[in-house]
Amino acid sequence: MKQDLQQMFSKAKKYDRLAQKSLFELFSGKMLSVANSYINNRDDAEDVLMNAFYKAFTKIDDCRNYESFQFWLRKIVVNDAISFIRTNKHILYAETEFTDSIAEQIDEVDELSKDIDLDVIFREMPIGYKLVFNLSVFEERKHQEIAEILNITEGTSKSQLSKAKKWLKDYFNQQNTIQNAESEI
């Protein structure tokens, strides 16, 4: 697998079309899921994915080795998805300070994480929360990095993450109460 990836990467560096197609087929499914987790629209996510692969293939010389290609490509997809949201959707972040009371809510969400459906998060969560939540949880970015990417303060990033977790908790509590009520009826 590694040898195949290495060969495909080295050929793609020479602008070999078959190698590019092989890389596309190998990573397109995962990268489409990543793009869709931000955009929540399949067609727009595919457009973003296509542009991301185009950038990756035309600037593949910037990627040093085949092992980092997947992460390099994922970074491009995430950045393109965020810039797509910024240009098409207006997001306003309210400046709030991160407090200890908010931090307590995070631990409670961890208990619920087993039952969380990812599609629900992508579909129902507000876009402001979702961006910070995705970057923090799925991309494992620090709040300082998130603040630089989204052009917000670090405190805002922390508060948005805690609010996102609170929203998840409330959402699943609400879903549980609805399910309980339906079962009683």
Partner: protein, 230 residues
């Protein structure tokens, strides 16, 4: 949160079938757009280089030709003037005069070459001109003009020497003098005819015929032998 992340990492979506074709078209277009630009720049650079080189060569050749033509015209004009004067003076040289312009031209070319050989610095400067820049070319060409224009009087002098060689004065030698004295003596001794030709007449010859015998109607009127015997 680790559970969420592992779920997220395992999640995949199926890409629509036409997405790779769209991407391939985009990559092809990008390749086509970039390549013609590079080729166009290459051709443009080559064309500009060719135009520049041909222009510089043309300028150099044109200027040298102009100088040569001016020199040739000046020389031919001066030679034609000399030739015309010669034609007026002698009618016998007409046929030769028709041939002379060619000879004169060839002589002029030879003289011009001779002048160029006399000044080797000019030929060396011409060789150096081909290796220097255009600005230096123009400066050296102006210098060359001056250098070539200076020796024109020398050419004319050389030309006159060749066409009209000085006639050496002939002095009378002693043998000629003695021969003249002998001739004068001979003139005084021998009578001359009207044409100056010496005729050696025999003493017996006279202007009248001297017949031996004259007969008229069978009668001998005169007989030289009878007279002499008598």
């Amino acid at each position: 949160m680790q559970n969420l992340k592992s779920k997220y990492d395992q999640k995949k979506m199926r890409v629509s079938d036409g997405l790779w074709d769209r991407l391939e078209d985009k990559l092809d277009q990008a390749g086509k757009e970039e390549k013609p630009k590079i080729i166009w720049w290459k051709y443009a650079a080559v064309i500009l280089l060719m135009i520049g080189l041909s222009g510089s060569f043309w300028m150099l050749n044109h200027k040298s030709d102009m100088n040569e033509n001016q020199e040739f015209v000046n020389q031919t004009e001066s030679e034609n003037q000399n030739f015309d004067s010669n034609v007026i003076e002698t009618s016998e040289n007409n046929e030769v005069g028709k041939v002379n312009p060619i000879n004169n031209n060839s002589e002029a070319d030879n003289q011009r070459l001779a002048v160029e050989n006399v000044n080797p610095s000019t030929s060396e400067s011409i060789n150096k001109e081909n290796q220097t820049t255009n600005q230096v070319f123009e400066k050296e060409i102006t210098i060359k003009k001056d250098e070539i224009s200076i020796p024109q009087p020398e050419e004319k002098l050389a030309q006159n020497e060749i066409q009209k060689p000085k006639e050496r004065t002939k002095y009378i030698t002693s043998s000629d003098l003695l021969f003249g004295v002998e001739m004068d003596r001979a003139k005084t001794e021998t009578p001359k005819s009207a044409m100056g030709i010496n005729i050696s007449k025999s003493k017996n010859d006279s202007d009248f015929p001297n017949p031996k015998r004259i007969k008229l109607f069978g009668i001998t009127l005169y007989d030289k032998d009878s007279i002499t015997n008598k």
